[in-house]
Amino acid sequence: MAASSASKLFRAGRSLLGGLKDPNGSIGLSKDLPRSYLFSQQQRTFIQMRTNLKVVDNSGAKRVMCIQALKGKRGARLGDTIVASVKEAQPGGKVKKGQVVYGVVVRAAMQRGRSDGSEIKFDDNAVVLVNKQGEPIGTRVFGPVPHELRKKKHVKILSLAQHIA
């Protein structure tokens, strides 16, 4: 009887651990949700050190890793500037791999509240490289940009943008 109770406890412990590892584990399985549901319930947070961002201008860089968020204790959000290191670059561009650059976050997966009370969020994290004065290094910007940039005085980026969300 002791052995059976011990085995029961062992099984209970195992299921608990299983629940802890998998964020939606037991609940998800019991409701029989599709696999994709588990993956799409991500908690989106700020852009902080080591965050990889996509570069959406033609300055030459492809991917960039955030080193420092210039404002904000927890990290950068939509419309903030960051200091980043170029991780991947096109061969003949204005910036090279390993260079430290400034960037403006133009798309963030974390939702940002607007003054009218609604919230907006994008599909990915994207950045436009700028110089110290805030002027973009590239000459084109791809994809949609939010109009939060207007308040942050990044008018040049807005003018280059194809679509303002």
Binding site: Y37, R107, S118, I120, F122, D123, H163
Partner: protein, 167 residues
């Protein structure tokens, strides 16, 4: 200020509510509440989800074409402020809403007509077939008054025919 439509359920999104999701191809999806947003993230097709307007329109449960819908078309020209126009518009909105609700009610009644007769036909058939579940057949033959225990007889002619058949 603009009243948008939720992409998933087609209800109006008032200012201060909901989340806007901008996809990289610059398509904007607006959601009225997290229920719709979560369904979207699950990649559900609103045309297949029963409680959305898209499903109801597609399956003929709600009105599709009506002249009252023309008034709600999206217009991108800003109107110059004119007090009289605003006043008239507010009155018109009320009237149009009333008309639309009346028409939707009428559509609903048209959709549901024939349900009552069908229900009664089915009830009579069930009575004829399944009366043995309520009363024993031997007992029914003995006392014919027991065949109709406490049923409200609206279509009295049909059921009295059943009664005569039992006898």
């Amino acid at each position: 200020m603009r009243l948008e439509k939720c992409w998933f359920c087609s209800s109006t999104v008032y200012p201060g509510h909901g989340i806007q999701f901008v996809r990289n191809d610059a398509k904007i999806f607006r959601f009225c509440r997290s229920k719709c947003h979560k369904n979207f993230k699950m990649k559900r097709n609103p045309r297949k989800v029963k409680w959305t307007k898209a499903y109801r329109r597609l399956h003929g449960k709600d009105m599709t074409q009506d002249s009252t819908f023309e008034f709600e078309r999206k217009r991108n020209r800003p109107e110059r402020y004119d007090r009289n126009v605003t006043e008239n518009t507010l009155k018109a909105i009320k009237k149009i809403d009333k008309v639309r609700v009346d028409r939707e009610a009428r559509h609903h009644t048209m959709r549901m007509r024939g349900k009552k007769t069908m229900e009664q036909r089915e009830a009579a058939k069930e009575l004829e077939q399944s009366i043995h579940m309520v009363k024993a057949p031997a007992l029914l033959q003995q006392e014919p008054s027991l065949t109709l225990p406490k049923i409200k007889v609206k279509v009295s002619q049909q059921l009295s025919e059943e009664n005569r058949m039992e006898e």
